[in-house]
């Protein structure tokens, strides 16, 4: 069917970010044991409590089994041969952009993330993470004026130990799951953000993750704390070179929103997805969870998932505070041999808590796309509300779409509504648009875009452009 081909070319366009950067790396042993964990901690010059945290996690991990409950099959990562820490030789932590390895700087330029502040989109501060380390954080001074701390997690461990100690592992405990435990043991770097009371973060914060080294896994850790009456919007982008071997990315993201605070977290995930035969590509096994600890707090996850060979990812919200709100907006596109098992958990604990889930899955090629979600209204969550809408679109006849929503209510005043549909791009729709002069490719773009619209409109403007490019879709109403 020609429409299928057109869409396949559209979303299956050559991966543009597959280049590698020639960088000299520090030596680091492969495999994992307590010594390796200690060595990572040592390399990062960490305090004792951090080392202990890692060791505790490592011991927990050795007792855990790799999960198998998801709808994906893949060759398990070889934990013994993986390199758990990978840092470019030309470091130490940089205060001036001039000190950044020119090759790495060029990499970010190529990715469209210039690190010079004057070249950047005004209003976005970037933390650039290259393999295991944070390379550079922009606009630090400007943010500091507002009282916002935005730095790499390594710096935060040294400069703000009380905050890290208090919150790290408080939303995703080290024993939470296999990959979260592994991350807690070996996490290399990531972003830290603290927005103080009564503060609206003056600009969008963003981290750009790049895996470059072929043999390394990336284990970054992100921690965002929004104090009472504060507000922050955070963006995350990811790319990786094309290698024939699979690479592991196992991140942990923890968000904490206190009374009346709001955190908006957006992701465009475009890791390398492997080739037609399923060779190479990233294993994206990420634990993302937010806790609405305070009254009237709000956490909102928006994600556009287009990359990775295998994605297992469920950005979740624990709605503890009364009247708190959780949101999850997701577009997941799979093609070729990609497998995505993604969704969310909304755990209602506080009274009058509300959650909304809008998920759009598009499967093409020989891929499998699964929505997996959990909505739980606990016994005490009086008047909790959830609305979920999970739509799937299939393109061609060799892909699959799956919906696994787990819904539970233990409170009679709670209300859960879940709807799911499966459809396709209709021939009559394509003809209609073609009759209006729109080419077949553009017609499909428009239809897919229309299908995802409720989610795409949640992305911050700065990301909308990238989302647009990624989906190969002309975004509607880009002006106004």
């Amino acid at each position: 069917m020609s429409e299928t081909k057109a869409l396949e070319t559209m979303i299956g366009e050559e991966y543009k970010y597959g280049f590698t950067t020639d960088v000299e790396y520090e030596d680091f042993p492969k495999g994992i044991n307590e010594d390796v964990v200690r060595l990572i901690s040592e390399k990062k010059d960490e305090p004792e409590w951090m080392t202990e945290f890692r060791l505790k996690a490592y011991r927990a991990w050795t007792e855990m089994e790799e999960p198998t409950w998801f709808n994906a099959t893949y060759e398990k990562p070889k934990f013994d041969t993986l390199q758990y820490y990978s840092a470019p030789k030309n470091k130490p932590k940089l205060n001036s952009l001039d000190e950044v390895d020119p090759n790495i700087r060029e990499t970010y330029e190529k990715l469209g993330i210039p690190l010079e502040e004057q070249k950047m989109l005004s209003g976005v501060a970037v933390d650039a993470v290259f393999d295991s380390v944070s390379i550079f954080t922009t606009f630090k001074e400007k943010l500091a004026e507002a009282g916002v701390i935005f730095c790499s997690i390594s710096e935060a461990v040294k400069d703000h130990p009380e905050l890290v100690k208090k919150y790290m592992g408080s939303v995703v405990p080290v024993r939470d799951n296999f990959y979260a435990a592994l991350n807690s043991a070996v996490f290399s770097d990531g972003s830290f953000c603290y927005v103080p009371k009564d503060t609206i973060c003056p600009m969008e914060l963003s981290t750009y993750f790049r895996i470059n080294n072929m043999n390394s896994g990336q284990f970054e850790r992100t921690l965002i704390i929004a104090e009472e009456n504060s507000h922050v919007s955070y963006l995350e982008g990811c790319t990786a070179p094309m290698y024939d071997e699979h690479q592991l990315h196992a991140a942990v993201v923890e968000l904490i929103a206190l009374d009346n605070a709001e955190i908006k977290y957006s992701t465009i995930q475009n890791w390398y997805s492997g080739d037609e035969e399923g060779r190479g590509g990233i294993y994206n096994f990420v634990t993302k969870r937010g806790a609405c600890r305070g009254k009237n707090s709000k956490i909102s996850w928006t994600q556009l998932e287009t990359g990775s060979a295998v994605t297992l990812k469920y950005p979740s919200v624990i709605l503890q505070g009364d009247n708190s709100v959780g949101e999850f907006f997701s577009v997941a596109v799979t093609n070729k041999r990609q497998q995505a098992d993604t969704g969310t958990k909304m755990i209602h604990i506080g009274k009058n808590t509300k959650s909304t889930i809008i998920s759009k899955g598009i499967s093409a090629g020989r891929s499998d796309n699964s929505y997996r979600g959990q909505v739980k209204i606990s016994k005490k969550a009086d008047n909790a509300r959830n609305y979920s809408q999970c739509d799937s679109m299939l393109i061609g006849q060799t892909c699959g779409a799956h919906t696994f929503p787990y819904i539970e209510s233990a409170n009679p005043t709670g209300k859960i509504e879940h709807e799911a549909t499966t459809s396709r791009v209709g021939e009559d729709q394509i003809f209609y648009l073609q009759q209006r002069g729109i080419s077949e490719d553009d017609a499909i773009s428009l239809i897919v875009n229309g299908f995802c619209k409720e989610v795409l409109k949640e992305l911050p403007m700065e990301f909308a452009v990238e989302a647009n490019k990624l989906l190969g879709i002309k975004l509607e109403g880009s002006v106004g």
Partner: protein, 276 residues
């Protein structure tokens, strides 16, 4: 045949300039099913003309409109479609639209999530680009379509709604004519545009069509009933039965049909068919 005569050439040239659409013994069937629906249709439509094609259900008149617009469900198995002097058989539906062919659908399709404005701007600009007209930026375009809205008496809110999604039957039909107004086609094929319209809506839509029609374009109305022709006066009426045009005439043919019913011509068609 030999046509060396100069006056003939001249005549032919003139003719070429004024003929918008010519169907030559057009045969078409449902793709892959081998069921022939159009069984040799001949038709000539000149600039400035309005043609009405009437016929009972299943006569092939809607198929005719879709085939001219290039619907992939149908395969042309014989004959030709000449548009502005050239065969368009090999052209994709969007290329035909670029060339100025417009089909107002009998059942306009819903496209959830895509607003009317988006569709029309996209559509207007691609057509404009291919016809050498100037493309409009979103602000200019907004001004442009708002004036067209009045033509079909539509509320501006409608521009931000998804294409046809949740529209009533009447709204969908109005939307088709609104799109025609925005896109300014050379040849408009209006497929059962009157069906599903109440009398007021019918008047609005017909007025709109009449205002849009001029010396430089042509309209082919496809309709089951004579009702629409009270509002839009055709220059020619053709009756289609069994995949063929069995009778052509002026507007009075429509009245005659209304009076005598299709049975009258169906028997005629049979006789003709047998005579062959």
């Amino acid at each position: 045949m030999r046509h060396t005569n100069k006056s003939f050439l001249k005549q032919k040239l003139n003719q070429k300039e004024t003929i918008v659409l010519e169907l030559k013994n057009l045969h078409a069937e449902v793709e892959g099913e081998g069921i022939e629906i159009l069984k040799g249709v001949n038709l000539k439509v000149n600039k400035g003309e309005i043609h009405a094609i009437m016929g009972p259900n299943g006569s092939g008149k809607s198929t005719l409109a879709k085939v001219v617009a290039g619907h992939p469900e149908y395969e042309v198995t014989g004959g030709d479609i000449i548009y502005n002097g050239e065969s368009i058989l090999e052209m994709d539906p969007d290329e035909r639209a670029h060339a100025g062919v417009f089909l107002a659908f009998q059942y306009p399709v819903e496209v959830p999530g895509v607003t009317n404005t988006t569709l029309l701007r996209e559509s207007y600009n691609t057509i404009a680009a291919s016809r050498g007209r100037e493309e409009l930026d979103p602000l200019e375009f907004d001004d442009y379509i708002r004036e067209k809205l009045d033509l079909v008496e539509m509320n501006p809110d409608f521009l931000e709604r998804s294409v046809n999604a949740g529209f009533s039957g009447g709204e969908k039909k109005r939307n088709e004519i609104f799109q025609m107004a925005v896109l300014q086609p050379t040849l408009s094929l209006l497929d059962e545009t009157d069906s599903g319209l109440d009398i007021d809506a019918l008047r609005v839509v017909s007025d709109g069509i009449n205002k849009l029609h001029g010396e430089e374009d042509a309209i082919v109305l496809i309709t089951h009933y004579q009702r629409l022709l009270n509002y839009i006066i055709p220059d020619f009426v053709h009756v289609m039965i069994g995949g063929k045009i069995v009778k052509s005439g002026g507007k009075e043919l429509a009245f005659e049909l209304e009076e005598k019913g299709y049975d009258w011509l169906e028997s005629l068609a049979k006789v003709n068919g047998e005579a062959k």
